[in-house]
Amino acid sequence: MTIFPEGGEPFFFPGGRTGCLLIHGFTGAPNEMRLLGEHLAACGFSVLGIRLSGHGTDMTDLLRAREQDWVASVEDGYHLLRGCTDHIVVLGLSMGGVLALHAGACLPVDGVVAMSAPYRTPHPLIQHMRPALPLLSLFWRYAKKSDSDLVDEAARETHVDYEAHPLRAVAELEDLVREMQASLPDVRIPVLLIHSRGDTTVPSDHVGLITNALGSKDIETVWLQSSGHVITRDVEQDRVFKACERFIHRVLEKAS
């Protein structure tokens, strides 16, 4: 028995010399990237789905996590995947998208797919309260989550995530997002942004904000209409899978 509840464990599907590094979102788990990973593995790519530090175990573990731990988790996955591939594309959902964009500026990767990624923390209140959060979180440990906006009911029932947002970790998310903003001009590789107009967690206007700040010339955007925030497990997931697959093939052609 591993320490992880079902869905919390990272995964590795061996394949060809092109690797896909999959990064889940804040308070989420590797499970939310698994179907996408299975699709990409079926396309012949090597796929590694990481577990971000403090995730996939117990919510109290997330209280201690800092943004650098998440960056280090991404680097762990990168180094392991590098051991069996020549090209790597990083794909992330929500905060995983933030980390993927950040990786696009810091690591020698070939492409980035950012799904439902925020340009800044969606709640202005969080931004203003950032300096007070570490102290505040000693008394107010968890912020309630709003109801999932997953449209697919079966997916909603099997979704693996923590039931609340540890406030201390929200401060780290805010810092990470700012760090990503600063690194966007240094991202010069092809980028695919996928976002749903039905996303109630991260409004769709964040796509334009990210696009404007990116240093890349090659930016592709795919819009979904009916999905919620977790687009890798929602009603249009097949469109997401296909878009990722096409993008990776295009990036590879460009790279070779």
């Binding site: 028995m1 992880f4 175990t57 280090a72």
Partner: protein, 254 residues
Amino acid sequence: MTYQVEQAEPYLFPGSKTGCLMVHGFTGAPNEVRPLGEHLASLGYTVLGVRLAGHGTTMQDLIRMREQDWIASVDDGYNLLQGLCDRIYILGLSLGGALTLHAASRLKVAGIVAMSAPYETPDKTISSLRPLLPLLSQVWRYRPKRKPRVPGPSGMLLNYPAMPIRSFAETDDMIQLMRASLSKVNVPALIIHSKADRSVPVDHAPRIFDELGSTEKDILILEKNGHVVTRGPGQEDVFKACEDFIQRIEGRGV
């Protein structure tokens, strides 16, 4: 620019469907057991060296880590290696050895090697102070290390220069957890320890050995290696012993 210290990163050497999971020690880094991993990879095995949470970056990160984070790091590596292999061996050094023994009581593995593993916290002061450590560590944050008695090739030791006091509470808990799980280990096991080990005295090895539930177990006592038996004088003996141990089990077929 990466966050992790260069050369302290985790690694993967792809190979056969038999995998070796390498676990480094407390305040160490994946590179400690990397030459051993490279040796096993040269024999055709798939090798994955994990980075334990809080290691290979800055010492401040280690202070926040708890024993369950290290267990999760091992399990991360195990889950990933499972994607590549049918059979998995775990090899760990020092705290990594304790994590290996604990993992063997919970996970499906083909065999384990525990090197320089502690049976109890070697420093009695630390274990008697255990309940006070979280508070004490607020004022006394680090204990500097003695100079490594047996240095590896220059510039290649990427371990932290000191030990966070807060983390001693976690290593103490981890070792106790390991001790309670020893009788539940029932896979082939190899215990390796050196008489010249100044961090964990060599008599810890037979104490672990005696409590192991495994029917197939071996103990190798070395003469000249330091605590980090996988680096420096005598490392070849360790490589050979690990090689022979795994080849012997693999030779039987599945």
